[in-house]
Assembly symmetry: C3
Homo-oligomer: 363 residues x 3
Amino acid sequence: MTYTIEEIARALGTEARGDVSLQIRRAAEPASAGPDDLALAMSPKYAEALSQGQARAAMVWPDADWQALGLRAAILAPRPRMAMAGLTRMMDPGQGYGPGIHPSAVIDPSAELGIGVCVGPLTVIGAGAKIGAGSVIGPHCYVGTDTVLGEGAFLREMVSIGARVHIGDRFIAQPGARIGSDGFSFVTPEVSGAENVRKTMGDQGGAKAQSWLRIHSLGAVRIGDDVEIGANATIDSGTIRATEIGDGCKLDNQVHLGHNVRTGQDCLFAGQTGISGSVDIGNNVVLGGQCGVVDNVFIGDGVIAAGGTKILSNAPAGRVLMGYPAVKMETHTEIYKAQRRLPRLLRDVAALKKAVSKLGSSE
Amino acid sequence: MTYTIEEIARALGTEARGDVSLQIRRAAEPASAGPDDLALAMSPKYAEALSQGQARAAMVWPDADWQALGLRAAILAPRPRMAMAGLTRMMDPGQGYGPGIHPSAVIDPSAELGIGVCVGPLTVIGAGAKIGAGSVIGPHCYVGTDTVLGEGAFLREMVSIGARVHIGDRFIAQPGARIGSDGFSFVTPEVSGAENVRKTMGDQGGAKAQSWLRIHSLGAVRIGDDVEIGANATIDSGTIRATEIGDGCKLDNQVHLGHNVRTGQDCLFAGQTGISGSVDIGNNVVLGGQCGVVDNVFIGDGVIAAGGTKILSNAPAGRVLMGYPAVKMETHTEIYKAQRRLPRLLRDVAALKKAVSKLGSSE
Amino acid sequence: MTYTIEEIARALGTEARGDVSLQIRRAAEPASAGPDDLALAMSPKYAEALSQGQARAAMVWPDADWQALGLRAAILAPRPRMAMAGLTRMMDPGQGYGPGIHPSAVIDPSAELGIGVCVGPLTVIGAGAKIGAGSVIGPHCYVGTDTVLGEGAFLREMVSIGARVHIGDRFIAQPGARIGSDGFSFVTPEVSGAENVRKTMGDQGGAKAQSWLRIHSLGAVRIGDDVEIGANATIDSGTIRATEIGDGCKLDNQVHLGHNVRTGQDCLFAGQTGISGSVDIGNNVVLGGQCGVVDNVFIGDGVIAAGGTKILSNAPAGRVLMGYPAVKMETHTEIYKAQRRLPRLLRDVAALKKAVSKLGSSE
């Protein structure tokens, strides 16, 4: 499939210059671009490499002198990553799963598949499941009993969704994503050392060794529209009510959401971030990679945490966090700088003690 | 399936009050409870919301004035989470995997299945595998060659267990759990920079760049009774002997256990915790989420670590740990408080230096 | 299968002593070794336990007095782990997947399988895929459209590889490894708070709440020869070009590589380490468990990072790192020691202030 420069610019809602009838087959980095590729040169730094490739057209920054760069056509990208969103969507060759319902799929007769649903080889659709129109369920997937998937879902290979999960429209799940695993919830017959430590911040008290009893998860998972869940991520079911993920949330690979977590809309959690049970998260919260959130806390709207931040208490709306334990990013920077000066500080204080002692004795 | 208040109370070993013949269909949060639901109102805070729902019966704290809360019946829960364990077990609707052995399952003729074993669609049971009576093997599972599973196992979808693994009774595995992956064990022909760094705590010495040779895992995994492994968790095989997980241990989602790890009984490892190779862990050890343990150390009985703790050396029995590197929780709290005062401390010491220098010169 | 002591020593390229015709069936730990086992006693500490077992032969350190240890034969291991690499390779009983192509596998007619390729039950091979000679594709695997696997690959159960991935020879993937998931790349129509925070190190500015638009991954993954990927690890596709993993790299369980990451050769990333998007990594880089690397940085050749290190900026070649944020390991040790003395330091400075104030007033 090819597109003209004009078609691409129109789809991106941006402007084109030069020979807008040029046919484009692929997007490419400037140095490796062929004559039918659209080179991505949205900053002068990347444009330098254009001469190493053969691109005749490129996506460039708004006031680029594209003719001086040796191009015959250019698409202007005032916000480069926005242009990338539109362009990569047009150019995506997909996974090639093939149309229709593969004969090896095991679909319960009571399941309901909407118009145009595709089901890959060796996928299992459970009893009472409903799949919305236009959804693509990849190979080796599992959709559980009475689970409801909205329209236009795209499940990559080996995704599993447990029983009674409700998911909105345009859901995307990457390979190996797990929705609806049981929550991790256990209790000892009598008060445990861990319970005492929580109260005392460090003292186990006289608690004796005990075995763990399981609290089952009755609550499944409820996911809004336009949500994406990353590869091998895990979303636990709630205990009584559902674990909830709001509209527009994007969760990266290996993210973990514990039971009863509730998120607002448009949150973004990067790779390997883990949210403990019963955390309440607002809208537009951004957590970098490998963040952690302790159970039962509240994260307000618009909180942003840098990669590796461990949030151990409530975070008010708009707060920008970093560190373990999390503090305001600016406080973290201050502490961090001070830490690096610590060894010298120790020497300074030792010298001061000596000096003061001398002054004191000479007095 | 419904239960009377009396039946529930008897099953939980606790007391009921009021109209104990009321029929209950579900457990529910107070605000969303319908007339046939048992509302969970085990503290005054939760009981407030009863008026928003339609519950006629609730589980309440022992001296609650349940009649004043507008209830017709009440179950007393002196230890709320213990009551939850019993109640959720009764009310669990399960995954609906269906009975019997699905015709699409691929079961080696030499495998032995106990009485009442269920096998889901598209599951593979390898040669010589033995599955104990009453076990439910979900859809898309893999049970490896000569692997032995005890009675009453419950494997959710897409669980895989490698060859020669031995697992006790009542094993539970969440979706995507991996048992018996190969250990991560490599060596360079000559001493590597990483080996030197371990000895010198920072100096690579003159080690040259080399490729890695693989040490194979001959030892499989041995798991006791009543163990649960979380979604997408990974348990590596041992090198020579088996990696061992003791009776009653519970591992959360995305937990990783390296080769040769040995745990005692009744340990609890929360989400995304990672244990490096050859760590020796006692009984009743509790590690919060995202903890890490360096290889070849010893963690004594009853050690508790807060979420995010990185244990870099042996931990004696009963120790409560926090931080990276892990220190006693109370030490961590002290250090943390001091850190927050660091920027001010730097200013104080600068002022002191000036003052002392002035005193010295005026002397 | 059994081997003589002589055969084993010859295969390992090392020397044997005593009755080198003894037949060996297994490798074993000294205390549990039977009469036909080779006990692993490569240090005096391990040799002590020989008397508890029945081993007649052992692998020992070069100048061990093996006769005094009660042995009839010994293999000398000057570098014990190197000997382990050779020995475990010989003794590995494998997973017993069985030969040939299982009839339940779903193989697209356009896929090309080399000579001697084995395909396990319920595995899917997509259109246009090419599998090199001698490869073993385990049960429940997925090999995507137009993906190329070199010779001698070994895929454990439930491995998935997306479309258009290129992988070299002798590839090993542990259960549940995911190759070619989509990159985690999103953009808001206007500048977001997270973008502002990156620039200002803490200030969100006036950015308003927005939804996320997806940037698709067009670039797949390219992997060299002799690479191993751990259980449930995730390797994202690149945005325009492929994500690249160089020859000889070994990635442990639950490692995550973001889109556009490029690694050199012979890198070793331990369990649960996460590399954000567009990180450029040199050769022979060793990252301990649970390390994290922020996006768009450069890690030079031979960098070594201790477990739990979070690398937030470029790391020059040969650097040894530790901590969050990462600093030189020796700096980390210094800071850490100083931290533990912090509470006392605070008291010292308070005392100094009092003393200086007294001196000042007495002046």
